[in-house]
């Protein structure tokens, strides 16, 4: 039973490269971020101060950067700041986006997975085709579609459903449309990957045992595509929380998302420490669901052959 294995230095190298990459481009920047989030604001030239006192050399962590996110400075009220509001709003819209993507993406993936094997590459290609156009162009195109004089309103008026344009652009609706549209492929692809592996004879077995098509779908297809649902949900939810471009191009002025808040703190208030503190908290928000996801996929991998 001689098993092929690389000699030790070679093996270390192969494993080491991705680790080095992660340390260099993920861990290190994150540590810098964490560092800035604990220091004092600086000036125009140095946006943040060093973490130790330049004269006494004493280390001082500025927790206030975090506190100020949770506590209103005027009356010390907790959890009632524009930041918390922006977080909750971002999470809410990210959840809505992920749910919309799931509702639209599931039938899509199911259809592709059940179509003829020869057709599937073409259908998958069509899912990915929008990536060939610039992301910004596609979001701008939605402006044209949803504007007061856009295609949607013109069609509605021509059909006589409405007499005057419906205000669609720069609302939550247009923002959700844009986010759902952009992130839909990230839902479809993992769902397709699990659905295409499913043995559809299991559905026949369910029918045979007296399950209606809906029951069979709910009791067999959905549980068996659970890992795809979770993966797709996470892939849409996580980037949606911090999404900056789509809300600022399609969203309304009254609904400020956390991505926008970070941007404002960074470039308008020049308050790098607070901007980074906001970012660190956002990462924490995202790591928790990710951890749940990895836990659940690890579990389902145990349950499979």
């Amino acid at each position: 039973m001689a098993k092929f294995s690389l000699p030790m230095p070679g093996r270390r190298f192969v494993i080491g490269v991705p680790y080095a990459w992660l340390v260099l481009f993920f861990l290190l920047p994150f540590l810098i971020l964490l560092y800035i989030s604990f220091v004092d604001m600086g000036n125009d030239i140095h946006p943040f101060k060093p973490i130790w006192d330049t004269e006494t050399g004493v280390l001082k962590l500025k927790y206030e950067n975090y506190w100020s996110i949770f506590r209103r400075s005027e009356d010390d009220a907790l959890f009632d700041t524009i930041y918390i509001e922006a977080y909750l709003r971002s999470i809410w819209y990210a959840l809505c986006t992920a749910l919309l993507c799931l509702v639209i993406g599931y039938p899509f993936s199911y259809f592709i997975a059940r179509s003829k094997a020869s057709l599937r590459p073409a259908l998958l290609m069509m899912v990915m085709l929008p990536f060939w156009t610039s992301f910004l162009l596609r979001v701008y195109a939605w402006k044209g579609i949803l504007a007061d004089q856009g295609i949607v309103n013109q069609a509605l008026m021509w059909l006589g459903i409405t007499n005057e344009p419906i205000f669609l652009l720069y609302t939550n609706v247009s923002m959700l449309v844009g986010m759902t549209y952009v992130y839909l492929p990230f839902m479809i692809l993992p769902l397709y990957a699990t659905l295409v592996k499913m043995d559809f004879r299991l559905l026949e077995a369910a029918y045979d045992l007296g399950a209606s098509p809906f029951k069979a779908f709910w009791l067999v297809t959905v549980p068996l595509s659970r890992s795809g649902i979770i993966a797709g949900f996470m892939l849409v939810f996580i980037p949606s929380v911090g999404e900056f471009v789509i809300p600022s191009l399609l969203g309304g002025p009254e609904n400020i998302m956390i991505g926008r808040v970070v941007w404002d703190e960074m470039f308008t208030s020049n308050n790098w420490p607070r901007a980074t503190a906001l970012a660190v908290i956002m990462i924490a928000f995202i790591v928790v669901p990710l951890a749940i996801y990895y836990h659940s996929t690890g579990e389902s991998a145990d349950n499979r052959k």
Binding site: D199, R201, L202, E204, A205, A206, Y207, D208, L209, G210, A211, S212, K215, L219, V220, P223, L224, R226, N303, R304, K305
Partner: protein, 366 residues
Amino acid sequence: MANNDPPDGFLVTEKLEKRFDETLAVDDVSLSIGRGEIFALLGSSGCGKSTLLRMLAGFEKPTAGRVLLGGQDIAQFPPYDRPMNMMFQSYALFPHLDIWENVAFGLKREGLPRAEIKQRVGEMLDLVQLGPFAKRKPHQLSGGQQQRVALARSLAKRPKLLLLDEPLGALDKKLREQTQFELVNIIESVEVTCVMVTHDQEEAMTMANRIAVMSKGRVLQVGSPEEVYEHPANRFVADFIGNVNLFEGRLSVDEADRCAATTGIGEIHVGHGVSGTLNMRMAVAVRPEKIQIGKSRPAVDKNLFTGKVREIAYFGSYNTFIVGVSDGSQIRITESNTSRHGQSGITWGDDVFFWWEDDAGIVLRD
């Protein structure tokens, strides 16, 4: 197990037909299956047996014809409204549910009270001796155990009709032989009518009361294993079930209780009559184990021929001789090994006599 009672027509198919585009997968199949019978659809792959079974289960809609179960036409019923259950070829156990939940699946769909479900699942698991495995997932069981779970699941709803799709196809040979009897015992203990599909003639012969031999969408012969083997209706059935020597020829003697044919190796006498015309084309089929072989001339005058031994194959429990004859054809003869050493002393290249009783041959007209 022998059950040759006339079938009472519990399950009847009438001129059942299934067409996929241009191909006729099932062609004019009319069967009548009795209550409590184990009925096998036997044929090679692509003969339409699986399509026929799927029509019974409701997964395929017949293009024409009727399916009657207890007198009721169920051809248009969806699968989930049919009082029958199927054991799938690859078992199709739900991988995300444990054994207990797999067996309970159908009962839960019926909306039975919890206590009754619990009791029935328990009974089923006991029946297939898998009680201790209730909390395992399907992939944690061996192939034979999975097969029993599939059986328990398909019997849990107490179906009127049990459909088995290649029930032993996924098991290895040794386990298959053992399981055949186990399966039949369980099926007979719950007294369920059963239709099974198989490509394995041995499986069909050991398990079924009656067999329908299928080819190209049509049923060629229906009968008990013995009938199908001893009295095949045509060349295909004779050839498909077991081994057979076919002698093509023309009818030369046609009497009420006997006939004879002129064939390539000579005149063959058959101990039953055919109602045909003299000189018509026909074939005589003789099973290899019904032919006797010897080096010295026996005291018979009919159906005695000579040849040269070309090959001998030793199968443990029997020997097979391939004997070349004057007209160039090769005759297969088997002889069981009753003594420890080859008693006949026949070896390669020997000139031998071979002969058979005149009731060993069967006349095949098509």
